[in-house]
């Protein structure tokens, strides 16, 4: 069982829970399906908090964990980021390297010509 999979499962519990959860809560919720050590759950929650995916608050002695954003918000951020780096002035300084950016109509035309086995784009205007 990789830590990555466990992180996803723990986040699923946090998203599903209406209230912040203690390590014990998460451990119990996960325990319904599989056998995970309490300390492992604690480590995973701390990792998630360090990454900013979960937020950690203190209630007396216990640490309470909740998802810092909803799954939908995170998915939207990820999508915006994945698509936002395409094209534009920022493309050259981008954190992500895209296979291809937005093509102009001209570029699309030349591509179609090349695909249909036509002339080399060198000879195109």
């Amino acid at each position: 069982m990789s830590l990555g999979h466990l992180e996803r499962d723990v986040m699923d519990r946090l998203w599903a829970s209406p209230a912040p959860m203690t390590v014990r809560d998460v451990h119990a919720a996960l325990g319904e399906q599989r056998d995970v050590a309490y300390t492992t759950v604690m480590t995973v929650l701390q990792r998630l908090a360090r990454k900013g995916l979960a937020s950690q608050t203190r209630d007396g002695k216990a640490h309470l964990y909740s998802a810092s954003e909803s799954r939908e918000q995170m998915a939207a951020e990820l999508m915006m980021d994945a698509l936002g780096d395409v094209g534009g002035a920022q493309a050259r300084q981008a954190a992500l390297l895209h296979f291809v950016g937005r093509m102009s109509a001209n570029e699309t035309e030349l591509l179609k010509a090349a695909l249909s086995g036509g002339s080399s784009p060198e000879r195109a205007p």
């Binding site: 990555g4 992180e7 996803r8 986040m11 990454k51 900013g52 995916l53 799954r71 995170m74 998915a75 951020e77 990820l78 999508m79 980021d81 994945a82 698509l83 780096d85 395409v86 094209g87 534009g88 002035a89 493309a91 050259r92 300084q93 954190a95 992500l96 390297l97 895209h98 296979f99 291809v100 950016g101 937005r102 093509m103 102009s104 109509a105 001209n106 570029e107 699309t108 030349l110 591509l111 179609k112 090349a114 695909l115 080399s120 784009p121 060198e122 195109a124 205007p125």
Partner: protein
Amino acid sequence: MTTAAWLWLLAITLIWPVPAVLARARWLLTVPRPAVVLWQAVAVSALLAVFGASLATIQALVFSLLLPDAAVRAGERPASLSGIDATGALHLAIAAGLLVLTVVALVKLNYVGIQVARRLRRHRSRHRDLVDLLAGTGMPDAHDIRVLSSGETAYAYCLPGRDARVVISDAALRDLTPEQVAAVIEHERAHLRARHDLLLEFFTVLYEAAGRRAGTQAALEQSAVLVELLADDAARRLHGPQPLIAALATLGSSTALESPASPTPLTGQKSAGSSDKAEVTGLGVLPRLRRLVDAPVSVAPPGLAAAVYAGALALIAVPTGALALPWLLTTWHAVR
């Protein structure tokens, strides 16, 4: 001319005309690997020339008022600072001002370097966390590949750095044939293997530190195109050119649907703004297409690669040997 004058001339040449000419040189795109080396040599040589020219100017100004030229040539010790006239004081002030500017430029270069490195790594780290959390692993035997479900948008990209990922959207998996998917993934893995991100990061730092002047912008844009050509070369070695051309068509036009319906520049319009923009948004699609349609070996004239490598070497070696070393030696003799 003095050493300082030669170095200023070299610096200005490397900052403005050389990048402008190289950016328009189509033949350079036929030899992407040597071209990448050449662009780096231009950048390093320009940096050395700028800072060398500043130091040489400061040294010349200070020496000129401490002792006459003849004394410098004879290797005599500089006189004391006493007995400086008004012109001398002005020279000293210019030298001090230039020294401050040089130090500020060096500090800025380092500061921007750190800022860019932190920004890129923070951005990638956050993106990787989200991808690992939300994307599926999708494909068997490929631990570095993540599949994002994002509706109708077909795209693929790589997330460089330690713990790198290749991300492909489920729409791309649906729209591309397995062979095309394999070619796209090989293209992205070539970026990751060769650490093309570090090359682009280097030119991003120069671009942001030196402003959007011709040289830095041309270097950044051209190196971005060149690494795409190199990644295409790696992918076509395994899969041939056709899957890549088809994938370019599918992914390029799919992403275009997302963009607002803006008037795209027509072929004939060569006004600087619009044609540049098309080139930027397409991430060098036309040069890639040219190279994919023609065989990469046949498009480069014989000996061009060696000539470009030699030019890159000369850019570093000739100024160092002909200007910097003699200047350092005479300065050393004069001070000793």
